[in-house]
Symmetry: C2
Subunit: 459 residues, 2 copies
Amino acid sequence: MVLTTVFFGINLSMRVILPEMKELIAGKKKRALKKAASYFEPADIAEIWSELTFDEQLVLFNVLDTRFATDIFEFLKDDQMLELLSNISTARKKDIINEMSPDDRTDLFAILPEQETEKLIPLLEEEEQSRARELLAYKSNTAGGLMTTDFITVPEDVTIGQVLRILREKAREIDFIQYIYVVDKVSRLKGTILLKDLLTTSPKRKANKVMDTTFTSVVLDMDQENVAHVFEKYDEPSVPVLDKLGRIKGVITVDDVLDVITEEASEDIYRFGAAGVTDEYLSANPFLVARKRVIWLIILALAGFISGSVLEHYSFLLSNIITLSFFIPILMNTSGSAGTQAATVVVRGLATGEINLADIWRVIRKEFLIGVLMGIIAGVITALRAILLQGDIMLGYTVAIAMIIAIIIATSLGGILPILFKKLGVDPALMSGPLIATILDTTTLLIYFNVTMLLLWNI
Amino acid sequence: MVLTTVFFGINLSMRVILPEMKELIAGKKKRALKKAASYFEPADIAEIWSELTFDEQLVLFNVLDTRFATDIFEFLKDDQMLELLSNISTARKKDIINEMSPDDRTDLFAILPEQETEKLIPLLEEEEQSRARELLAYKSNTAGGLMTTDFITVPEDVTIGQVLRILREKAREIDFIQYIYVVDKVSRLKGTILLKDLLTTSPKRKANKVMDTTFTSVVLDMDQENVAHVFEKYDEPSVPVLDKLGRIKGVITVDDVLDVITEEASEDIYRFGAAGVTDEYLSANPFLVARKRVIWLIILALAGFISGSVLEHYSFLLSNIITLSFFIPILMNTSGSAGTQAATVVVRGLATGEINLADIWRVIRKEFLIGVLMGIIAGVITALRAILLQGDIMLGYTVAIAMIIAIIIATSLGGILPILFKKLGVDPALMSGPLIATILDTTTLLIYFNVTMLLLWNI
C-alpha cells in the first residue's frame, strides 16, 4: 500500500481508495477509517479533500487524532481551512491551533477576519499568545512573515551533554531540526551547531567551543525575494532570522522558500504578460480578473493611439501606394516579437540576478549585434515577399531596409528599457511584452514611413 | 566581523576586505590568509572569485585546507571550476574530487570532456569509482541526476543504539542529515527515522518498530519538474530516490530543488517570450543567441505574411476609406495584448499545476466573459477616438463592434491554445505571447474588414 504512493505518481493511490474511504465514512467505521488514513501522507489526503462532501470532511477530520488532523489542516487551501474551522467545536479548534506550527498558524490568522483571530488567540497556550501576536505584526512577504518560532536555543556556557538534554525535552514539538542555536544572555545569536555533530562530539565539550560562528542569517524585515536569494546562494537547509540587535527571533526553512520562488516567478510572469498579479485564477471572479487586466489594456490602447496618429500623419503615402500597407502587420509584428524576445531574457536575468544594472552596456552591445543579425534575415525574407508577390524590387529594397533598422531598434530597446526601469526603482517586469510591442509599433511605423520617403517617394 | 555578513546584505563584507585579501596573497602570508578566509562562508568567497587574478586564485586555493577549498570549489561557476582544475597538482585534484559531494562531483564530470573525466575517476577511492560511473549514467534532468549518494542506511533488525553507532561513524562525511533510511537485505527501503527522533527513543528499541513506513519517495527516472512538484506538495527537507525494485539509490535534498524550480521557471519564461532557452545570457555568444531567436522570428514573420495577405485581399476597402487604416495598429495591438494576458495566466497555471486539462471549459467560459467585459471598455475608447478625431459616428460604431469581437476571440484563443498544446503533448509555453499576437493579427483584421463591410460599406 505504501509503495503505491511511490510508483504511481503523486496522487493516484489516494484517489483509488477514495470510494473505500467514503464507504468507511458513511458506515461510521471510525477505527477502520483512522487506520486507512494512516497509510497516507497528510498532503495526499488534503489533495482529495474537495472530493469529499462537507459532511464527509467533518466526520473524517473529527475521527483523526489531533496531530494527524492538524497536519492535514495545514495542507488545505485557504477556503477549505476557513470552512472547516467554522464548523468544528471550540475544544477541537483549540487543539488544532495549539498543534499548528507557528508559521502556518500565522498564515491562518492573517486570512481570518480580525475579530475571528481575536477569538482564537485566547485559545492558545499562554506563552504562545504573545508570540502569535508578534508574528502577526510582521509583513507576510518579509523574513519575519516567513519564519517559524519553533527552534531550539541553548546558552553559550552549557556542555554538549546539556544540549542533548535540552534537545530531548523539546525535540517532539518541532518537525525538522537541522541546527541548534547558541545564544548569549540577551538572546543574541553567537553560533550554530549541526544536530548531527552532537552525535560525534564529546558530551563534556562546551557548546561555544563546538559552534560554528560563521553562520548565514537574515534580518526580520528582509524582503522574501532576497531571502530566497540567500537560500539559493548558500545552499542552507534553514537560516536564522535576527532582529537589528542580533537576537534570534525565528528560523526560515528552505521548504517555505520553495513557495516563495514559485510565487515570485509567477508574479514576474504575470507582470511581463501585462496580466496583473492574481493569487488564484480558476476560483477568481471574472470581473476582478478583467478589472486587473483592463487597466493595462487601456494603457496599451492609449499608447496604441500614437501609432494610429503616425499612420494618419503619413496617410498621404498610403493613399498613393496602397501596397505599402500590406507590410505594416509584418513589420510591426516582427519588431514587436524581437523586442519581446530581448526583454524576456533581460527581465528574467534581472530577476535571477544574472544581469545587474552595471551590465547595461554589455546588454546594449549584445542586443544591437543580435538585432543586426536577425534584422538582415527578417529583411531578406520580407524583401523576397515584396519582389515575388508584388513584383516590385524597389519596394522589396525599401521594406528590407526598414525591417533591419526596426529590428535593431527593437532588440536594443527591449534590452535597455527593463534595465532603465530597474534603475528608476520600478519593477522591470512591468516593462511587459505587450508594452514593448506597443512602443515598438510606433517606432517601427516611423522608421517604415521615413525609409519609404527617402528611398521610394523621392524616386 | 561575522555580523557584518549578517547586516550588510549578501556580499558587501567580502568585497570590503578584498583589498586586504589581495595584500595577504601578494605577501604570501599563508597563515593570516587562511585565518581571514575562515571568517567567511565558502559561497561568499566563490562570489568574489572573479575579482581575484588567476594567480591570486591559485595561491588562495592552495593555501586552504581540503575541506574548505572543496566547499568553495563547489560554489564556483563551471568555467572557473574547469580553469582551476587544469592548473592544480594531481595530488590536490585527487583530494578535492574525493572530498566533493557525489552530486556536485557528477555535475563536474558531466561538463568535463570525457577523456578528462576518465583521467579523474581513477583518482577516486575505489568504492567511489563505480558509484561515480553509475551517477554519470543518469540523465541530469531526472531524479537520478539530482540525487546525492551520501546518505545513511541501517538494516531493519538493528536497535536504535546500533543506529547511533553507525551514525557516529558516517556522520562526518555527510553535510546535512535529516533521515536515517531503514532497508532490508536487498537494499529495499522499508521506512525512515528522523534524526531528531533518535534522541528521544530508547536505544533498546528496534529500528523497524520506530520507523515511519508512509514515507514519500521518487523513482530514478522521474523528471526534475515532477520531483520539484513532490517537494512543493509534501514540504519535505529530503526525499529518497528508489529504483524500480524499491531499492534506495540516493537522496535528493530540497536545496537542489530550489535551482530546479528557478531553472524551470526561466525555461517557461524564455519559451513564452519566444526567446529560445539559453543557459546563460551575458557570457553567451551573440551569434548563438541570435540563431535561437531568429528561428522563432522567421516562423512569426511567415505567419505574419498571412495578415499581410488579408490586408491585400481587402485593400479595396482601404483605398476607398483610408481612415480605416488608422485603426489597424490599435486593433491589432489591443487584441494581441488581451490574448497575451490570457495566455500568460493559463501557461503559468498549467506549469504550477493550478490549471489542468480538465479545466478547459472553465477557462473558456471565464475568458469569454473577461473578453466581453474588456472588449466593451476597449471598444468604447476606440469609438471615442473615431468620433472625436475623425468626427465619424458610424466609423466609431464600426470600430467598437470590431474591437469587442476581436477581444473576445483574443482572450478565448489565448486561454484555449495553451491547453490544446498541452493536450497534444507540446509544451504549452511554446504558445508564446508573440505567437498568440501573430495569430490574432490575422483574426483581428478579418473581423475588422468583415464588420466594416457589413456596417459601413453597405450603407
